[in-house]
């Protein structure tokens, strides 16, 4: 119950922030732009629209996380608004979980809004066969953003907004290369390969949530993929929030 109260408050905070409105407008503008530019794509208009639309959702979502999500907790600590919450009968884990739920809900709203707009565009343009693949890709993009949000909440609980943004961005970038790291680990000598494999597992496995190219080709993915991605996202998020809790539990608010 308490996490949901905090989540509702966090959602309210995020949706009343002008950054979010700007991002939604930018996303819709990007979709409009794809239509204007698709005639220049030499017959690849459909691919262009779907790929840019899906990339837009991910990139704009990441932007929202870096601008707003990474100061979710840090800003409250800085401004001391957190005193009003933690002096009430709520546990620190409940507070962090609530923050994550609220901000994730915000990002899912944005992803769904832009995703439905993209799906609508695809259907209107007569590319209805791509519709399901687009929806699957939007779902995976939402999972990806939830995972990155968990990292942002953790870093925000431990550090300043600027450093949190840098750490989150760093994990995002290395996470995009996690498959390359795994391939590299297989080719390296045993000890070094093990170290690289550990890094590949510490960072989020973001390629698992990427079916943008498949969607651009109109290819749906398997239930196994969706199940593995959903399970992995749930478990990774829970793990990160546990770590955040462990660190936050012993934090003093001077």
């Amino acid at each position: 119950m308490i996490p949901l109260l905090i989540a509702r408050n966090t959602f309210r905070e995020a949706t009343r922030d002008r950054v979010l409105a700007g991002v939604v407008v930018a996303g819709l503008a990007l979709l409009a732009l794809t239509q204007a530019a698709s005639s220049l794509a030499m017959g690849e208009g459909r691919r262009f629209t779907v790929d840019l639309g899906l990339s837009g959702i991910s990139v704009l979502g990441l932007l929202v996380i870096l601008l707003t999500g990474t100061s979710l907790v840090a800003k409250e600590v800085e401004r001391r608004t957190i005193y009003n919450l933690l002096s009430r009968p709520i546990t620190r884990p409940a507070y962090l979980v609530g923050k994550w739920i609220g901000f994730s809900a915000t990002l899912w709203s944005v992803a769904l809004l832009l995703g439905l707009a993209l799906w609508g565009l695809v259907v209107l343009r007569g590319w209805g066969g791509h519709g399901l693949a687009v929806l699957e890709a939007v779902y995976l993009a939402g999972l990806e953003l939830s995972v990155i949000t968990a990292l942002a909440v953790m870093f925000s609980a431990l550090s300043t907004p600027v450093l949190s943004a840098l750490y989150t961005l760093g994990f995002y970038m290395v996470g995009q290369w996690s498959y390359d790291l795994r391939m590299l680990a297989e080719k390296l000598p045993k000890e070094l390969g093990s170290l690289v494999a550990v890094i590949a597992n510490l960072v989020p496995n973001l390629p698992l949530f990427n079916m943008r190219t498949l969607a651009a080709e109109g290819t749906t993915t398997t239930w196994l993929h969706l199940a593995l991605a959903s399970g992995y996202a749930a478990v990774y998020v829970a793990c990160v929030l546990c770590l955040a809790t462990a660190a936050f539990e012993s934090k003093d608010f001077k």
């Binding site: 391939m183 698992l208 993929h225 593995l228 990774y236 793990c239 809790t245 012993s250």
Partner: protein, 253 residues
Amino acid sequence: MSPLATVDSRRRRFLAAWAGALVLGTAAFTLAAAAWRTLPHPHPLEELSYYPSGRFLEPATLGHAATAADLAWLRAVQYYGQHRATDNQFVRMAHVFDILTTLDPSFLPAYFFGAFALAQEGRDFPAAERLMLKGLAANPTSGPLAFQMGFLYYVRPGGRDLRRAAEYFERASRQLDGPPESARFAAFCRQNAGELEVACELWARVERTSPNRYLREIAQREQARIREAVERGRREQAMRRLTTPVVLLKRQT
């Protein structure tokens, strides 16, 4: 009394959080490993293959086209190795090397590797030829590029193009950074293409300019051979019968 009863609730939450993190982390590790094993890996060149041209990609690199080319090069080599080891299907290779060399037209190894991979394993000589011509257009004074172009024609699967090979070997020999063996290769190709008079002149140049005594002796010998064949009216005696190049692709074990 349980040991946990003596620990205050804050510390209990702290320990529970760490325990949770370890268990969930292990679960995440397991799921990620399962995904790695069971799901198809994203095609390493997928993110490049949809761009109609490198021309559209370059602005997106925000001034880092050369770096993007380097990363694309890594992917391309990986792609080649992966398919060379498995199905020997190189469907996207021409497109990707085209993008690579558009991003960084001075990246010579991309032309060398790409052209030979296309011609041999890719079985697409016209694509290889186009790539090398693109390279020469972007780097007109490059001796190594001209030399490799000559060599490409020399090893063309299904039939060597000795005239064109010679043409490019000669071009390479005229460049400042041309490999020293360019003139010799040009002479050899002209000779075996039947252009004995031109070959003779080229051998004479090799004899005049080569610092290597052995090579000078070869040049003298070939000139004598040509002169003798021409005097006898048996030009074919100065020409060697060369094998027809083929591509043999075996799955690596």
